[in-house]
Amino acid sequence: MSGFTMPSATLLAQSILSGVFVGALYGLLGLGLSLSWGLLRLINLAHFAFAFLAAYLCYQMAQVGVDPLLALLIIVPMFFAIGAGLHWGMMKFQITPFNSLLITFGLTGIVEALIQTIWTADYRKLESSYGEHNFKLAGLYVPLPELITLGLAASLSFAVWAVLRYTDLGKALRASAEDAAVAAAFGINQRRNALLLAGACSALASIAGVCLALGFTLAPSQIYAWIGVVFAAVMLGGLGRALAPLIAGVVIGVSEAVAMAVTAPSWAPLVSFTLLIAILLFRPGRAA
């Protein structure tokens, strides 16, 4: 029974839908990471810690009756400031991309310890009215929290894509990433733009965190459970792109879900990382 089994049409369709939902979360978590890595040349591992910190804050606010989506009004500006502040420190000490990896890894550990001190290592589950609302569409169950995540991931990805493509700020950011010296010669205020982008990336992490809180059980150690697969989505999509993490996330999510439907859940990580290795082997230029 543990080998390959042919799933029923309903099981396959439900699994694909589940894959799309979880893939949207991969994409949303990957969006800020991809922008930071691609446009700021900083590999911000603390992105995941920020997402979880935002999730716990959302959980805490829900305990006193604040609607999780309304909590975004407080959480998003807060994390924008944290992200911009962190990047200000990175710029001040001229941190290289490799060192940014080490520093933000350390920061992740600190945030994990902070979460554990405040909320303990016990699992926490945000109970909200959204969790009670599921509906059926063409025979498939659609949970509202996952639908909200998909909606936020898609709309934010398109919004970021539009900003990068059509606005002066977006063009300036892309130009700075392409050739910082030439961009500076054209009068682009790289420092201000970098702070704005870093703040936006952390704000995106916090939105992903609220989605995490809506659909998943929280534990401090879970921070690390998401890093591998979200990195895979970012690498698969290519760095500094707005729509690519979402598309890659959905591809990975659906692949994992189908793998779980036809084989076993323990095969799911194998699928996502095999996909990543295949892409890196056959299209090495994408991730550079």
Partner: protein, 401 residues
Amino acid sequence: MNKTIVSRRFTLLATLVGFCGLAIAQTPSGAPIRIGSTLALTGPLSATAQVHKIVGEIYVEQANKRGGWLGRPLEWIVKDDQSKPDLARTLYEQLVTVDKVDLLMGPYATGAILSAMGVAQRYDKVLVHHTFGIPSLAKYERAFPAWSLGSDPANTVPNTLFDALAAGPKPPKTVAVVTSKFPSIQFMSAGAREVLKKRGLTEVLFLEWDFGNRDFGPIANRIKDAKPDFVFVGAIGLDGNLLLDAMKKIDYVPPQHFYLYPSPAPLVTLPEAKNALSVTIFEEQQPFLNNVGAAEFVKLFRERATAAKLADPSVEVQAAASYTAWQILEAGVKATNGLDDKAIAAWLKANRVDTIQGRLRFDGTGNYGDDLMRIKQVQNGKWTVVYPKEFTAGGATLQAN
């Protein structure tokens, strides 16, 4: 009249002398007996380790009030292994070589216990351990289990479970076995598969997931699609809650369901966990409360756990196994009238010890004795023992959804 006054005075004096004598007898003196252990006071296992810390503190306090061991006070040295088995190994080395403790007590959980067992073996120390999940790995002859799951739990525990189901309202014909690959879980689930086949039941689904799995949606989908009469979930920690959450999203209620080692408090409070089954060695009900020290311990633990703001202040598997470990060590020390590890180990192997779990023996493989695992079920928002009948209270019987 004078005679009466003299008699009263004499009685009063005698009573006072008696009380003083009693007080002197109950006040331990001399150098303390130092017992060393580690616990996962921080890290991912810290929530459960807090239970063991409270239990240890209660036991040491009770023992000192009773006059200590061998007339000497007890001192418990507990270090934080940060939920890391490798650190537990180092700290147990420290306890023996630097702190020079008289006796060792086991840590929590299986990985740390295995590390501590290696150190205890190197220094020929007795190690009574709380909740070691894989008896076949308990090779050290002076290690003694406080969790009475027997030496072959992969066979005996599923048999008890399927006996309970067979005696229930809907004996299952088809079974789905879904399980974590966590070491102390996986072999039990493998045992359940063997047992159900031997009993002529049909396995309609078998799935495994890695420890720390995030997404239980696809697993819930597969279970629903397989339409089993009974779902055996090799769950540890919050796996059961996560799976039930995922089942709720697709509007699926398993007809009968079992969770191996769930976090008891979160599962019992989940509405979807109605009629969920699990295993236990102790619950706060008769006849368990008749066991030696049980009623007083339950009362004290409730007070301390409530003050410490634990999610669940009731005594169940973890707290009971922890208290049992201290009872076993005390029995060995008192019976041998000394702190000699060799003598204590020899006595424990040859004798039985009365504990809050019942009367335990240590003469089986890996020093394990009888499998005392009972079947409990979530009924009316609380855990209730439903099998075997002699361990049920108030006429409780197994229910199906």
